[in-house]
């Protein structure tokens, strides 16, 4: 009975989404009189429809989680993806560890953003609020129709099985339980940028004020996306047991694509807010970012790409999502084709200026996005026309993405030093001379002591350059000019240093990682570099839904024991699947990483992988710094909105009541 209730709420939320989309009808009034009865009716009806829509989806999602908690096996979704012996935490996260549930989570978080926009705390003129919500409602309606017709999480199964099929063991991991919600928050957050762009175009309201309204939403989505990508990559690092942290997997790429355009969007919004320029470009980036989020959803859900993330697939679903994509993205680009170019860019700048710098940075980000997009879609397209299944892997990205990224890093170091409007390139270079010299020297010394490939040297130098130039910028600002630093500038510095550190660690990892694999029994040892691993003990372990073994490895540096490592192998009988739990001893210089290979299970000897992964701690630290930078920018942008009185008379409307 309770599952039917969930379904009922789902249908009710669709009805509310359709009412919400009705808000588009108000546009006809918006340019005439603002306070007639017709407009006021919409001003009240649409936000309430949004709130109910959110409430119904919340109830529906709550019911799905409840069904997973009690393991109601008469529900197909539960029977296929859960089992009673899983711990409570994974029974809950299992609710979104599958196709239907993850779509429901997607639309629930989407409605959370719409809900926030519907609140009066978010200060927007009513005409703009209603059109934005209408746009959100239309997208929500498309997705809800899709969910109800083809991916219903509340479908019954008769007769119910005795035992559920359980969640994919790889997904039974705390980090991964939180990874999809975080990533999805980023994805759906960009829908606000999309809807703002549509509303802005329809109302001819793309200006500095628009940029200020939008900025917090873009920043919060960007922060979630950054953390989500970081968490996913951290999961891959220790759970897949391959010692790597990024695999250019199609689904990873799908999350990187909107991150790249979102980063470009943050910067071009800055130009729009400060200098009233780049209007069409910003609108295009706003639409593109969310389109790429949708494309990512499409690629994963249609099963067009083979990946660790793929759930059960069905081509019909793919066609359905493609139609939604066509309507949403195609519609947006049609509006862009009609209204784009109608905005007056009140901006003049020299060829050497921060504007030019940001423009180049945007172009490079977009080009980088293009290479990843091609690498992701090429196999799909080739398979369709030539019937070949091909994989595009690291060799491709090393040769395309990385060379585009290096000039981007150098540009990033220079742009903050170039003033708005008109700068002087000689002066800028002079300003940065010491930093460039120091970076080159540092990187030269390091690579002289520990050689690496040219590409990793260049990337490493780029990373150092960014960190040092950001610090230099801070120092000059504080000491030389005695100018107080704004929150926005702190945000920029933090995010840039974060990226710099991430890049340094990527380059260091690529250049200096080392590994060894050996078959060992108790008492045996292997050594790599300065380190030695000794197999000390083996213990059988038993979890709630798995069995396995845990090996105690003594880790020695020279002759001194520094730690014990406990890598595990787990066997999940209900899926007949093994997972490896790597053991990591993390220091600031190295991660010492041990994992058991899947072969030779139940033997008195184990194949043990031992990696020295340099600078890995810094990778995660850099990602965290970037996210903190984004948060600081978010605070700055909200503060800015609070202190700027709205120029548009939204207050008058409520007075007229």
């Amino acid at each position: 009975m309770i599952a039917e209730l969930g379904q009922f709420f789902l249908i009710m939320s669709l009805a509310m989404a359709i009412v919400q989309a009705g808000g588009f009808l108000r546009i006809a009034q918006a340019n005439k009189e603002e306070n007639n009865l017709w407009s006021l009716a919409f001003n009240h009806m649409v936000p309430w429809a949004v709130r109910l829509h959110f409430l119904f989806l919340g109830l529906s999602f709550g019911i799905l989680i409840y069904l997973h908690i009690i393991t109601d096996l008469s529900v197909l979704n539960v029977a296929d993806n859960s089992s009673a012996e899983q711990p409570l935490f994974f029974r809950i996260s299992g609710a979104w560890g599958n196709h239907e549930g993850s779509l429901l989570l997607w639309i629930f978080l989407f409605s959370l953003f719409s809900f926030t926009i519907s609140l009066k705390i978010v200060r927007l003129p009513e005409y703009f609020r209603i059109t934005t919500l209408a746009c959100q409602g239309l997208i929500a309606a498309f997705f809800l129709i899709f969910i109800i017709l083809s991916s219903n999480p509340f479908e019954r199964l008769s007769p119910p099985p005795f035992q559920g099929a359980a969640l994919n063991p790889l997904l039974q991991d705390p980090a991964l339980a939180l990874h999809p919600p975080t990533l999805y928050m980023g994805y759906v957050g960009f829908s606000i940028a999309f809807s703002f762009a549509i509303a802005g175009m329809l109302h001819q309201k793309i200006d500095r004020e628009w940029a200020n309204w939008l900025r917090p939403w873009v920043l919060i989505s960007w922060v979630f996306l950054t953390v989500g990508i970081g968490a996913g990559s951290h999961w891959a690092y220790y759970e897949l047991g391959w010692g790597g942290w990024w695999f250019w997997d199609a689904v990873e790429n799908a999350s990187l694509l909107p991150w790249l355009t979102g980063t470009a969007l943050i910067h071009s919004l800055r130009v729009l807010a400060k200098r009233d320029g780049f209007k069409n470009w910003t609108v295009l980036l706003a639409i593109t970012s969310f389109s790429l989020c949708l494309l990512g959803t499409f690629l994963v859900r249609s099963g067009l790409v083979i990946s660790v993330h793929s759930f059960a697939t069905d081509p019909w679903r793919g066609i359905f999502i493609l139609v939604i994509l066509g309507l949403t993205i195609g519609g947006a680009f049609t509006i862009f084709a009609k209204y784009g170019g109608g905005f007056f860019n009140n901006i003049y700048f020299n060829s050497v200026s921060r504007e030019t710098g940001i423009l180049f940075n945007n172009l490079l980000l977009l080009t980088a996005m293009g290479t990843v997009l091609i690498g992701t879609l090429y196999p799909v397209i080739l398979e369709a026309i030539g019937a070949r299944t091909v994989a595009v892997g690291p060799p491709y990205y090393d040769q395309t993405f990385v060379p585009i990224f290096i000039p981007l890093l150098i540009l990033m170091a220079f742009i903050p030093f170039i003033p708005w409007r008109a700068g002087h390139w000689l002066k800028t270079i002079k300003n940065l001379m010491p930093v460039c010299a120091i970076s080159l020297i540092i990187s030269f010394i390091i690579f002289w002591l520990k050689p690496g490939s040219i590409i990793s040297i260049l990337t490493f130098t780029g990373g150092i350059l960014i960190v040092l130039s950001a610090l230099w910028w801070l120092g000059m600002r504080l000491i030389k000019d005695f100018v107080s630093i704004t929150l926005n500038e702190y945000a920029m510095i933090l995010a840039h240093i974060g990226l710099g550190i991430t890049v340094i660690s990527m380059a260091g990892h690529a250049a200096w990682k080392s590994e060894i694999v050996e078959t060992l029994s108790i008492g045996d040892q292997l050594s790599l570099g300065n380190y030695r691993l000794v197999v000390e003990e083996e213990k059988d372990i038993k979890g709630p839904n798995f069995t396995g073994e845990k090996i105690t490895l003594g880790l020695f540096q020279g002759t001194q024991k520094i730690a014990n490592l406990y890598p595990e192998k787990r066997y999940f009988p209900s899926q007949q699947m093994f997972t490896a739990e790597a053991a990591i001893f993390a220091t600031l210089r190295y991660d010492l990483y041990a994992a058991i290979a899947q072969e030779n299970f139940n033997h008195p000897s184990w194949k043990i992988w031992f990696y020295i992964n340099p600078l890995m701690t810094w990778l995660w630290l850099g990602v965290v710094l970037m996210a903190i930078g984004g948060l600081v920018g978010l605070i700055a942008s909200i503060k800015h909105l609070r202190h700027t009185p709205s120029a548009t008379p939204s207050v008058i409307e409520t007075k007229a009541l």
Binding site: G241, W242, G243, F247, W248, D249, A250, N280, L284, I287, T288, S291, F298, S302, L304, V305, I306, S307, P315, G318, I319, L322, L325, G326, I329, G330, F333, T334, F336, A337, G340, G341, L377, P379, V380, I381, L382, E383, A384, I385, G386, A387, R388, T389, V390, A391, G393, P394, P395, E515, V517, A580, A597, Q598, E599, K607, W609
Partner: protein, 176 residues
């Protein structure tokens, strides 16, 4: 208004992309298999062995027995997908040579350690020359070579049960 094209361009790009994706969805069954090279002599190669970098392995070293040559890489997801089938062939004592296309040796080794090694000999094609000489445009791809060094069958894309049952096993039985 000038430069109208710039504003229509995103719509155009997206439409083309959407058409392609739609087409890709409808064509999920492989239709055409490359037939070039079938019947020809297999190109000779001389590649370093994965587990013994100093040892160069030639195709002639295996002359006189039918042979399966599988091109793969650790970074290739479809290769992971077909891997269990190669293991099944291996258990039937069918000799398979693996050629790792542009892969780091340590990654290849780990790929084989963690999933199992179906190959009697694994070779590294670091610059991709050998792979190209076989006329391959993407991996995985699998070749069947008879005792005289002639290619008798090739299959582009991940192997599947039907192909193994209906094509490969009969072919290998004929040539044994």
């Amino acid at each position: 208004m000038k430069n109208r094209l710039f504003f229509v361009l995103p719509l155009l790009i997206f439409s083309i992309l959407a058409l392609y994706l739609g087409y890709a969805l409808l064509q999920q069954q492989p239709i055409k298999q490359p037939q070039e090279m079938v019947g020809a002599k297999a190109p000779n190669f001389s590649l370093p062995s994965l587990y013994d970098q100093d040892k160069l392995v030639k195709l002639q070293d295996f002359a006189g027995q039918p042979l399966v040559v599988n091109f793969f890489a650790s970074w290739c997801a479809p290769c992971r997908q077909e891997h269990p089938l190669l293991m099944a062939l291996h258990r039937r004592n069918i000799p398979i040579i693996g050629i790792a296309y542009r892969d780091k040796p340590e990654n290849t080794r780990q790929f084989l350690e963690s999933l199992g090694n179906p190959y009697i000999e694994t070779l590294q094609d670091n610059n991709g020359r050998t792979t190209i000489s076989f006329g391959i445009s993407g991996i995985p791809e699998t070749f069947f070579i008879d005792g005289n060094g002639q290619i008798i069958f090739r299959y582009a894309g991940p192997l599947n049960d039907a192909i193994i049952r209906d094509k490969i096993i009969p072919l290998l039985n004929e040539n044994r």
